[in-house]
């Protein structure tokens, strides 16, 4: 069962480069001119975005296990 996570951003590290949104297979992240946005209902917990960030600005908070 995939782990359910909330992806969070460290705004002081983030450059809003859009890379995390680009690699997300589920469109769970949008990077706007003014900020970073995460859509919990779309996230599949794959953590690709967290690994891909060139500066380590993203991390995961566990939310329990999907049924």
């Amino acid at each position: 069962m995939p782990e359910k996570i909330r992806v969070v951003v460290n705004e002081d590290r983030c450059y809003l480069c859009g890379g995390c949104a680009g690699v997300c297979p589920a469109l769970a992240i949008e990077v706007h001119a003014s900020g970073w946005e995460f859509f919990q209902d779309r996230c599949i917990g794959c953590r690709i975005c967290i690994n891909a960030c060139p500066v380590g600005a993203l991390s995961a908070e566990p939310l329990g296990v999907k049924e």
């Binding site: 450059y15 480069c17 890379g19 949104a21 680009g22 690699v23 706007h32 690994n51 960030c53 060139p54």
Partner: protein, 393 residues
């Protein structure tokens, strides 16, 4: 607002499309979410000199930082391979000026251009994409257009919302981190590239000079690697005793290095540039590829508008795959083989090639490179090396 064509994203591909279509007499709007087109950049700024003539771009000193005469490649143990031309082979651009000037050329050709205008979603009417929902500063804007061009970079928001599959697996992206900084001790007429599994897993470190003592110093590594690109670049600078106290810029981004989008058109929506993953998988450069894709896309947009037949847009997919797609798939194959090289292989290959015909290597003739490698006894005696190289022939 209603236009014949709306182009989302004013990187490289977007303004080329906007300029070409406007030049043909059609109404075009080019939008970009940034308040200043071209800034921040996500790029090492190096490009071949050939693109200026090929894509009808002025060779303008306002955006050319430096002319470059070749490259020096460094192996993990410090062996060097120098490829130096007598004439200028490339330039280091100032992307902040270059991108803005490309948008200026589009505007001069007749396109409307709106900075700080962010596409948020597509507008659908009767199941078909009819335009873009956008935001200019805090004002919502609806832009209707017959044709929508998604040139919106690696995140490809518009392409994906229009239903174009731009997904590529994480291994087909590089994480990239770069300082523009003061740095001394490197020949400023050459670009410098360091390879090695400990230096930059799957990728390389670069120094692209902008002045005698100022350069873009960056790194790209596989995006599925557990450490960050920043970690590896800072490590490299420290190990090479390069002081990090003169940093003028920090640039960050993800670079698609494979996973080219199969269907570049969905009805009246086209995807170009980084959004379509149209980047060279070997070196991660995508400006020339974006110009080529933008040129092909704009040709078919103009034909589709002239003949009032949007099905002609599909020819962009066909022509791109026939021209650049086929070539880049070949480059991707080379990249996948080079990923399997050990540091010892890299040391040996660079040693062998430094004594080979540099002109042919510099010309990018992979077959000549492989032939040069295959004749060396240390390659001939290794079944693994032989097999890796033969995969490339």
């Amino acid at each position: 607002m209603k236009y014949d064509v709306v182009v989302v994203g004013a990187g490289i591909a977007g303004p080329i499309v906007a300029r070409n279509v406007a030049k043909a007499g059609y109404s075009v709007l080019l939008i970009d979410k940034k308040p200043a087109i071209g800034s921040p950049k996500q790029c090492a700024e190096g490009i071949s000199i050939k693109v200026f003539d090929k894509y009808d771009i002025p060779y303008d000193r306002r955006y050319i930082n430096r002319e470059i005469y070749g490259a020096r490649i460094y192996s993990p143990s410090g062996y060097e391979l120098e490829l130096r031309y007598n004439e200028v082979s490339g330039v280091i651009l100032e992307r902040k000026v270059f991108d803005k000037m490309l948008a200026y050329y589009a505007a001069k050709a007749g396109a409307d251009v709106l900075a700080r205008t962010e596409a948020l979603d597509v507008i659908r009417k009767d199941g078909k994409v009819a335009g873009i929902k956008a935001k200019h500063e805090d004002e919502p804007v609806e832009i209707y257009a017959d044709i929508i061009v998604a040139a919106d970079g690696v995140e490809s928001t518009v392409a994906r919302k229009a239903g174009i599959n731009t997904y590529a697996p994480p291994h087909e992206f590089d994480s990239s981190y770069e300082y523009e900084m003061l740095i001394e001790g490197f020949d400023p007429d050459l670009i410098h590239l360091w390879f090695g599994n400990e230096v930059a897993p799957r990728g390389y470190v670069w120094v692209f000079p902008k002045d005698e003592d100022r350069a873009n110093v960056g790194i790209g590594i596989a995006s599925d690697h557990p450490q960050t690109a920043k970690y590896y670049l800072d490590k490299w600078l420290k190990e090479n005793n390069i002081p990090m106290k003169k940093i003028l810029e920090v640039n960050v981004g993800l670079v698609p290095v494979g996973g080219f989008v199969k269907e570049l058109v969905k009805e009246n929506v086209l995807v170009v540039g980084d959004a379509a993953r149209q980047v060279n998988p070997m070196h991660g450069g995508g400006m020339a590829e974006a110009m080529e894709a933008g040129t092909i896309a704009s040709k078919w947009i103009v034909k589709a508008l002239e003949e009032e037949n949007l099905s002609l847009l599909q020819n962009y997919t066909a022509e791109w795959w026939e021209k650049d797609g086929k070539r880049l798939e070949g480059v991707l194959r080379v990249r996948r083989v080079t990923e399997k090289l050990t540091d010892e292989d890299l040391d040996l290959f660079i040693q062998i090639l430094s004594g080979a015909d540099a002109e042919k290597i510099a010309g990018g003739d992979y077959v000549e490179v492989i032939k040069a490698l295959l004749t060396h006894p240390k390659v001939l005696m290794s079944r693994r090396r032989l097999s890796l190289l033969k995969e490339l022939l």
